[in-house]
Amino acid sequence: MLSLIDRRMGIFLAGLFLLTVAVPAGNLVLAGQPVPSYIVALLGKYLCYALLAVALDLVWGYCGILSLGHGAFFALGGYAMGMHLMREIGARGVYANPDLPDFMVFLGWQELPWFWHGFDMFGFALLMVLLVPGALAFVFGWFAFRSRVTGVYLSIITQAMTYALMLAFFRNEMGFGGNNGLTDFKDVLGFNLQADSTRAGLFVLSAIALAAGLLVAKAITSSKLGKVLIAIRDAESRTRFIGYRVEEYKLFVFVVSAMMAGVAGALYVPQVGIINPGEFSPANSIGIVIWVALGGRGTLVGAALGAILVSIAQTLFTSWFPELWLFALGGLFVFVTIFLPQGVLGLIESRFARRRKPAAAKEASA
């Protein structure tokens, strides 16, 4: 376990730990509340994005699977959690119907659709947070990897997958709240979602999930299986000829990554208070790729860092010049691809390495 924490990981986890202590303390304990509540929710959201970026880096950075549909797994995890939160509202909805969520009453439905059963139980919902994205990734990957769909074609069909899901979830008949999605949540496990203490708790949970996600990803990538993944990324055909069934390896890592994305989505939804089909939008999935590329592909920590930095920039930018954000993001992406192929993390590390020992930098770039 300790062997998984190299310098890079150690520094990041230490920083994350400090944040995990300081933010709730600044919000709940210190006089004058130096950390306002909206900041807690905002930072919690960033941590979920960071976990999502780590999930993508696992498949893209290490196995060369450029998924442009990872937002779908995130959204499905989010919907699974959202369904539980809807059930927990109970009779406190606008229509005060103890058996049906408001949007179903509004549509005139008489009973709960079969796929909503069980979501009143928190444990069941948690299981679905993992199983639904995992199962989709399994079925999708089974066909795609077996038919040896790779490269751009794979990227396109992942994008098509999330687009198709978005259209499906927009429809009221699907039973997931259509356009409006799921919202007006009241509490989770009896804790009021509006309370500062609940928000701080969700923030801490997000930080723990991110740390766990990083360690799981690190354990996978530093095992022999991780080396097989890199071999597949760099020379897929060669890897087959030494006896590895490439499709099985891809399937494994794709499913693990989808589950990780699902967990990120499940933590995200109670913190933002809503999940709607917009989360499936293809642009979201492309955004994840940009986070990873900016932070440093194939570094895990870089992916997390990229997600956080870009999200901070987005929050600031959209409040100053809302119309310019997409141009700024596009420009930044082009800049990084051309000038910082190793991403922000690569830049930081080469700075430090150069200052300390010139030889080390050469080794790192080799």
Partner: protein
Amino acid sequence: MSTQLLLDGVNRSFDGFKAINDLSLTVEKGELRAIIGPNGAGKTTMMDIITGKTRPDTGRVLWNQSVDLTRTDEAGSARLGIGRKFQKPTVFETQTVEDNIALALKEDRSVWATLFYRRSAEDTKRIGELLELVKLSHVADWMAGDLSHGQKQWLEIGMLMAQDPELLLVDEPAAGMTDAETMRTAELLRQIAGKHTVIVVEHDMDFVRALGCRVTVLHQGHVLAEGSLDHVSSNEQVIEVYLGR
């Protein structure tokens, strides 16, 4: 002796062009066999067919007189015990020389076994021996991408040996090697033949002579002649299409 590999009436065309044309070939267990022939004769395609990369249009390909190789995929043929060295050396460039060997080492290839694999002292020893054999011990921790062309050839040979295959398919191993290295490769292949079956494709006639084995001449996807090097090189047709150029 029993037959290791049998190709019988194999055909394969690409867009109407017959790359392999009624090819029949038998290789015995433990045999060392050289395949020569002009560019485009179908030597690499033949290896693609044996390893399941390319499916023949018609014909039989039998492994150990029982297993139908036209039904296996690349990983399947590797698991049966067919190892392959490519014409263009392909190693895992962003991984160390040692890791390249470790990845090829004969082990359980399933996802779970690979995920929980712990390197045993025995494996470490074996990797050390292989690195020694291909004279890459001093660069064991280099990235494979930083090796010279000749060193990559050796690394591929090391990876091939690491798999401990029953049959080795070796496509132009001497390209990019010095004369001394070429002779050392021939020596190595002669040593491992007997215990393993070896099929070598090579253009370098000195190398083929050094192998001192039965030679098959391929031309337009068909066997033109077969026998000792002296026998085939006195064949009129062979001189015309290949040696005489």
